[in-house]
């Protein structure tokens, strides 16, 4: 999981790559063996002590692209290449001296999101989670299909956690992905759903 070195990310302290390979679930092997992974970068929050009127765009343009490159490289490396990735998601954990807006700045702008989508050959909006938290707090990152977001079989999550981050003046930025659906998906899809409305269920609801 050591990809070739890319342009350095300003203020990067550490990088954690986590991967799960599911062998069995509920005692049975899934139809397709699936791997989930997350790549988390711990970096200095460039906006600590700058106040809520501060324009964030300069640092976003400076930091987010190399972060997108680094994290997607590591994800692809952990999961056997971009083509193997079917679902994706992203997250930011902001240390207690920062604003949630600082995490949003690094994951919700095109400097990160558009690049992550392009590097992972996706088309969907990337679903996300964010939190302000003490070091070591776990965060559940949602994933959905990278080209067909409404694909129900691919709604899944991966839990991410860096033991000693974020410090108060740090951010953890996470890119996460999966190579397939949940292990035993069997809750249908839009194409197979009956038409359900409040009216159609009147007898059940009353």
């Amino acid at each position: 999981m050591q990809a070739t070195e890319t342009k350095p990310v300003p203020g990067l302290r550490k990088l954690v790559v986590y991967r799960e390979t599911l062998v069995t679930e509920a005692g049975a092997r899934p139809a397709r063996p699936v791997q989930q992974a997350s790549a988390a970068a711990v970096l200095r929050n460039p906006w600590v002590r700058t106040g809520p009127s501060r324009d964030l765009s300069e640092e976003v343009a400076q930091i987010a692209p190399s972060l997108a490159r680094l994290l997607t490289d590591r994800l692809a490396d952990a999961l056997g290449g971009v083509a193997a990735i079917e679902a994706f998601g992203k997250a930011a954990i902001v240390g207690t001296a920062g604003e949630i807006e600082h995490g949003g700045a690094l994951i919700h702008t095109p400097y990160f999101g558009n690049l992550m989508r392009e590097f992972l050959e996706g088309e969907s909006i990337i679903c996300f989670a964010d939190a302000r938290a003490e070091a070591g707090q776990p965060l559940v990152v949602p994933l959905w299909h990278k080209t067909h977001a409404a694909t129900r079989s691919h709604y899944q999550t991966v839990s991410t956690r860096v033991p000693d981050a974020p410090r108060a003046d740090e951010l953890v930025v996470v890119a996460a992905a999966s190579t397939g659906p949940r292990p035993h998906p069997r809750i249908g899809d839009r194409a197979t759903d009956p038409v359900i409305t409040v009216k159609s269920l009147e007898s059940v609801l009353s």
Partner: protein
């Protein structure tokens, strides 16, 4: 051996104490979440047959994977067994404290020392620290280190998490005098 999942974690430290660490310090962990071989059997007096069925296969599976994840030669190593709440800590110890298990890692890493270990019982999502020491000389202070691991949904009450850890170097910014300077 019934495996539910395999978890791989790689940490790479780029800065420590405000100073750059170059090359980055790498530590890898590979953990297998398996069914406790003695689950539901009450107090089993002789753990030998269960050890024979599981320990060697487990060591043979995990050792090459943790070295592959590290992508560099290992200089320090350690192991862990985290037992789900219905099991005994002795069950975890049984799986990791025999040569049948550890020799796979020692051989693959060209190592000679005993593997430092953590054994404990806990709920799914429990955080555990794996201690690591130098692979050929456990007195080398620069290589005493720890990596923290958590698997969100393991171990279930009837499972055991068995893990191996490997580091490509000592602590980042290590600067303690060697043991020999005090003898």
């Amino acid at each position: 051996m019934k495996v539910r999942k395999i978890v791989t974690v790689v940490e790479e430290i780029r800065t420590e104490g405000g100073r750059e660490v170059w090359p980055p310090a790498r530590v890898a962990v590979v953990a297998a979440v398996i069914e406790n071989p003695w689950a539901g059997q009450g107090f089993v007096e002789d753990l030998g047959p269960g050890i024979d069925e599981t320990a060697s296969d487990l060591g043979a599976m995990l050792a090459p994977q943790v070295l592959a994840a590290l992508e560099l030669p290992a200089e320090a190593y350690g192991k862990a067994a985290i037992v789900g709440l219905d099991g005994e800590v002795e069950h975890g110890s049984a799986l990791i404290h025999t040569l049948k298990f550890g020799d796979h890692f020692r051989k693959a890493a060209d190592a000679t020392t005993l593997l430092p270990a953590v054994e404990k019982r806990g709920p799914a999502g429990v955080v555990f620290d794996i201690p690591l020491k130098h692979i050929t000389d456990a007195t080398i202070r620069s290589h005493h280190q720890t990596i923290e691991v958590r698997i969100a949904d393991a171990p279930h009450q009837d499972e055991i998490v068995v893990a191996l850890a490997a580091a490509a170097q000592g602590r980042p910014q290590q600067r303690l005098a060697a043991l020999s300077t005090e003898q």
